[in-house]
Symmetry: C2
Subunit: 249 residues, 2 copies
Amino acid sequence: MTDVTMTPTTPTRETTLGCDACVMRHKSDWQVLSDDEIQMLSRGQSKHCYETGQTVYAMGERSRGVYCICSGAVAIRQFDPEGNSVLLQLAYSGDTLGYESVLTGETHRCSAEALGPATVCLIGTHTVKTLIARNPDLGLQFLRRTAAKLQDAQEKLVQHATLSNRAKLAHVLLILMDRCGRRGTDGAGSIYLPVSRRDLASMIGTRHETLSRIIGRMENDGLAYFSGRSVDIPRIEALLGEIRPQLVG
Amino acid sequence: MTDVTMTPTTPTRETTLGCDACVMRHKSDWQVLSDDEIQMLSRGQSKHCYETGQTVYAMGERSRGVYCICSGAVAIRQFDPEGNSVLLQLAYSGDTLGYESVLTGETHRCSAEALGPATVCLIGTHTVKTLIARNPDLGLQFLRRTAAKLQDAQEKLVQHATLSNRAKLAHVLLILMDRCGRRGTDGAGSIYLPVSRRDLASMIGTRHETLSRIIGRMENDGLAYFSGRSVDIPRIEALLGEIRPQLVG
DNA sequence: CGCCAGGTTGATTTCGCTCAAGCAATGTGG
DNA sequence: CCACATTGCTTGAGCGAAATCAACCTGGCG
């Protein structure tokens, strides 16, 4: 049972450059906007800096708009009534968060928490709605993104239903490898995990003690070596082979 | 290990009324269309009748457009490499399916199968894209729908990670109760299940043998009585109480 | 009639959860 | 600088839940 109290949301407010100068200008969903729409975006936005562990928005909170990550990584979690948390998604710079709540008008279903120092822009509800009405491509872009996330979530559901915990861990490691891993020359790789063991455990739907044991067994089998938040993977294909363990024929 | 071969997709083609006369005209996502856009929809659409078990579209198939259910129920499944299937979603009349693939241009990630006699309209890719471009509200409607489905899928993920199989079954029963159940006078209810035990088991992420045992225990505890596809629930609130079993302190 | 698919039940084993202790790193206040 | 609490992780023992393998039942159908 974890403590549900969160670090108070008191990020530093910044009033510097507009969105036209943003590094993510051409890499985010907002790339479909024209120059004057970007100006409109700039005016309806405010940039905030978060420290590790600070809350960008909290579950149950009223939506104030959507959040666009300029730098850093953000964890999207949901808490169950007992206070346990499940890490649903990792978001990185360029990702836009929280538009579900803007669309439905309901409160946030998830919390968003900075995993390290992060800068995030809040784009007010009114501005978002105006921009979507003005440029339908933005809505389409969000639709494409949401559809992709839905497929992702469904794939996870299938895996939770069919794979062993060990296979699920292997899968998560491969995904993290793509995202924040460095590839070696000979099919080897290494990852610096952006999350704690507890979160990693919640991602594969198990307890942290069980995760510990799985890690131990994986090290015994020479699949992956964990030390703090660093993971070394001698042969990446070996992890791939773990994903269908029961297919030994 | 189930057989992956499917009943051939040879639905009866119908060339009767247009979409303006459809019963779902004002209940589906297409309700945002104007009269002449509905005419356009009618011309770009073809209606098909499916028998129980017939495939509307199959996983891996190229997308031909989106599918709008006029009547009947459709199961959305995914198969894993071993041939096991996971039932991801139940769709009913008024629901629109398969637009993810239209948007991404990829092949279908899931299969759709008629659970009983069903009539489904196929709206060709070109028509869909034209209509979305012409009336942005349609895209927004799809976005809202997709966002809702995403929240749904995420909620399921949290439940798979935290709840027991018994609690998950209780939850699924409550959802089915809303969808296809009849409420009694005194807090009782009954459901006619639209799916087999195997599918029900896959919905809660377990084997059908285990489901059988859970059902047995639930009957012992007087929570729900199963007979074929009929379920009788004496007290619906009792099921609700099952969902947080470990909260007894 | 025999066959088959779908469902139930039983026996056995594996796996993961729970509770509990221990340990290292970090922080805090005297 | 040290005693002490806290946090994150690991490890162990015992137990309960679920997977697996297998037999068996039942109703529908050629």
